[in-house]
């Protein structure tokens, strides 16, 4: 599939060649563990990475492969590897290039799971992280150490919604020969392609807007194909001999897709966080309507912002599309179509009012996901960000009264009536 096609065409066709045997228009679900080899030579060459081909579905699967190519194409990357969840994608991306003694500089405004991974889990394996305010560009520079191997951030920070200045941070990465990885879940390739602004790796929780229907958990790491892994000796996992594969040098053999190949050869093979073919099929179905859904998510978000901004029980509303948001200018630059469909706001009356609102709001579902076609709502301080301490909570930009809203595709009138039910219940805590 030619990368010269436009976005909507790619989201329908990229990565798929119509089934050769029967002409099936939809991608077949290869729900199989393994693949019959025509002969032993073919088998060994597939195992040795000398040729493409499928051996075992933990490592590659034809249905998952279509999704990988489709996402790589939409993102403008060289290759992609799908994983069983977004967290697995982050983990595989990091461990493909970092080892004991290495260091990450990461945004402090991220999904609680990302923060917990870097703060609590990776240190057990000798990988440490310095968290910096994503709006403080100098902070990124000054946090860099001799052993820093990765700069990591979410383009639209969760849940404060601060926008990462991709070009400025990519410049810092490039000056220090450090790879820059972006969690692009909240924007999707439809709103922003981080590689266009110098990022080197992206990851998505495709569970969210990419899949769009709350039906399947999944993740993806996309290789930007634009980083020189051999420029320094910082990345031996890619630029030095890889013993398990007869000392192959991935950087020499695979060039722009060396990073993705390392994930495939090591993480998928040894850690095994593979995506199931059924999930890949469901996610492919979701991506077919990605732009349509995103447009509607964005237009609904603007209407909801208008509603909330004019509601007397709302103490504050935050979204990068609002001129009052500190990232408003960055949003215009990086997200010209719209700054995503996550909105945060405070209900007058603090924690108790927030709780009453959440428990009584109708239509919006109270749950810990975002990016569903249905509107979702949650109280981050007690749920998604509950495993991080009070100090980090403040650094992550979370307040006790904050309600995070993932605006869905329902009719806005119905969402508003549902919200009014929550506001009625919260009224007694609002005072006055």
């Amino acid at each position: 599939m030619s990368d010269f096609y436009e976005f909507d065409t790619l989201s329908l066709h990229a990565g798929q060649t119509v089934d050769k045997e029967f002409g099936a228009r939809a991608t077949p679900i290869y729900q199989t563990t393994s693949y019959v080899f025509p002969d032993t030579d073919t088998a060994s060459s597939i195992f040795n990475l000398e040729r493409g081909g499928h051996a075992y579905s933990r490592i590659t699967n034809p249905t998952v492969g279509v999704l990988e190519q489709r996402i790589a194409s939409l993102e403008g990357g060289s290759a992609a590897v799908c994983t069983a969840s977004g967290m697995a994608a982050t983990f595989c991306g990091i461990t493909a290039i970092l080892s004991q003694g290495d260091h990450i500089v990461a945004s402090s405004q991220m999904y609680g799971g990302n923060i917990s991974l870097m703060k609590n889990t990776l240190p057990r394996f000798g990988i440490t992280t310095t968290f910096v305010d994503p709006t403080d560009i100098d902070g990124f520079s000054s946090a860099i150490q001799d052993n820093t191997k990765l700069i990591y951030g979410e383009l639209i920070g969760n849940p404060g919604l601060d926008i990462l200045d991709l070009e400025a941070i990519a410049k810092i990465g490039s000056e220090h020969n450090i790879a820059f990885m972006v969690d692009a879940t909240f924007n999707t390739p439809y709103l922003c392609r981080p590689f266009d602004f110098g990022a080197n790796i992206t990851m998505h929780s495709v569970t969210k807007w990419m899949g769009g229907h709350g039906a399947a958990i999944g993740g993806v790491v996309v290789d930007g194909g634009n980083f020189d892994w051999g420029a320094t000796d910082k990345y031996p996992t890619i630029s030095e001999a890889y013993a398990p594969f007869q000392g192959i040098n991935l950087w020499e053999e695979f060039g722009p897709s060396a990073f993705a190949t390392r994930i495939r050869a090591e993480a998928m093979r040894d850690f095994g966080p593979s995506m199931s073919p059924m999930n890949a099929f469901l996610l492919l179905q979701g991506i077919e309507t990605l732009s349509l859904r995103m447009d509607k998510h964005l237009s609904n978000t603007l209407k909801i912002l208008d509603f909330l901004s004019n509601h007397q029980q709302v103490s504050w509303v935050s979204h990068p599309s609002l001129p009052s948001h500190s990232s408003h200018e960055l949003a215009k630059k990086y997200l010209p179509k719209g700054a995503g469909s996550i909105v945060s706001f405070g209900v007058k009356g603090g924690r108790e009012a927030g709780k009453a609102f959440i428990e009584n709001v109708e239509l919006a579902s109270h749950l810990a996901n975002v990016g569903d076609s249905k509107t979702l709502i949650i109280h981050p301080a007690t749920t998604t960000h509950s495993r991080i301490d009070a100090e980090a909570l403040v650094a992550a930009g979370i307040t006790e009264d904050m309600i995070r809203l993932s605006v869905g595709l329902e009719d806005v009138k119905d969402l508003q009536s549902g919200f009014e039910a929550g506001f009625r219940a919260a009224r007694k805590f609002a005072g006055g």
């Binding site: 029967f22 099936a24 290869y30 693949y35 019959v36």
Partner: protein, 383 residues
């Protein structure tokens, strides 16, 4: 090729593109044609008319039954419906086993009669009763053997002879025994009808049906109804059923062995009035069962002393056994046909054919037989 080899390999081959050892799930509506002139050259146009995953299952079932072809359906009932619609028209007559699944009885008496089709429910245990039911317009005989839920058996070969003389098609509902234990075509039948929901799937995962035909000509008629009425099986269901079929023989062997042990336990239990299992010497048609099948299956029923009230008490208190409809799964199920599966059969008709109020039906699963027996014993003790 032996049955166990067939149940694994028949109908499927590694995917030619990728080598995938399992048939892909072709979850697609349509198929891109190479050109107008080459329309259907790859065999498929639209998934109602045919789907490669569904076709793989149809091919496997064909080989397992030893037939010419197979059509699969959305449910077992749609397989029965297609059998009727393929061979019966207004003014025609069919003979149906007087004991059959309640849904089959309901279809005949409440639905198909509206279209001018006449039915006689004949006692399959008495071949003369079947023979004397034949009329000039008899076009189909549907035999369910062993019959749900009384386990009444019908001599397939004898009925096939009657059908042949009458110029009627003989369809056998082979759901209870599957081709592993009972081979209708070798006994002269024309069609083998299945609820694949039962032993073919075996895991309570899907609902589906199948009609396997002895000849291509018969198959063509069934396929025409399948495509015309569109009651098709989904690719996902076909795929799951393909997997289930691979362990059919081992499940049937083990579940039958469990059923035999349970039947013997019940027969010896002082609180049990009667037990009905074709494998028991006390079963009135034990000889026929042994003659026309190589196994007795995993369905049985019993009556607790004290009848309906005692039976209800047992079904409400028994552990491990799930009180549920369906049968044939790895999970053991306990069912009260009078209130559940056969509620739509009128009380007089039930009484006439021996579906007594206290009849407790067991579908014996794959659990350890000791656990199943202990659970029944505990429940019987409470009665």
């Amino acid at each position: 090729m032996g049955f166990s080899t067939k149940q694994i390999h028949a109908g499927v081959k590694p995917d030619p593109t990728t080598g995938a050892i399992l048939t892909p799930i072709y979850q697609t509506t349509t198929y891109v044609q190479p050109s107008v002139d080459e329309y259907l050259s790859k065999g498929f146009s639209y998934s109602r008319s045919g789907n490669p995953t569904v076709r793989a299952l149809e091919n496997k079932l064909t080989e397992l039954e030893g037939g010419a072809d197979c059509a699969t359906f959305g449910t077992g009932m749609s397989a029965v419906t297609a059998t009727m619609l393929a061979f019966l028209s207004a003014g025609d007559h069919a003979i149906i086993s007087d004991v059959a699944y309640g849904g089959t009885y309901r279809l005949c008496t409440k639905v198909l009669t509206r279209f001018g089709i006449e039915f006689t429910f004949a006692n399959g245990a008495n071949i003369d009763d079947v023979a004397s039911s034949v009329r000039e317009n008899t076009k189909l005989i549907l035999t369910e053997t062993p019959a749900n839920p009384t386990m009444k058996c019908t001599d397939i070969a004898a009925v096939s002879e009657i059908a042949k003389k009458a110029g009627a098609v003989h369809a056998v509902d082979n759901t209870f025994l599957t081709p592993y234990f009972q081979r209708p075509f070798e006994l002269g039948a024309d069609l083998s009808v299945h609820s694949t929901t039962k032993y073919m799937d075996g895991h309570n995962a899907t609902v589906g049906g199948a009609v396997i035909s002895r000849t291509a000509e018969l198959a063509e008629k069934v396929k025409f109804i399948q495509n015309s009425t569109g009651s098709i099986m989904s690719p996902m269901v076909a795929w799951l059923t393909l997997q289930g079929c691979k362990t059919l023989s081992v499940r049937m062997d083990q579940q039958s062995a469990n059923a035999m042990a349970i039947a013997e336990f019940l027969e010896a239990h002082p609180k049990v009035e009667q037990v009905c299992y074709p494998g028991l010497k006390s079963f009135s048609q034990h000889e026929l069962s042994s003659k026309q099948a190589t196994g007795y299956g995993a369905m049985l029923w019993f009556e607790v002393k004290g009848g309906l009230a005692a039976g209800k008490k047992l079904m409400d208190s028994v552990e491990l056994w799930s009180l549920a409809e369906n049968l044939g799964s790895v999970e053991s199920l306990i069912t009260h046909p009078v209130t559940m599966t056969h509620a739509d059969v009128e009380a007089e008709e039930r009484a006439r054919v021996g579906i007594i109020d206290g009849l407790v039906r067991l579908s014996v699963g794959l659990e350890d037989k000791e656990d199943l027996i202990e659970a029944l014993e505990n429940a019987l003790n409470k009665v």
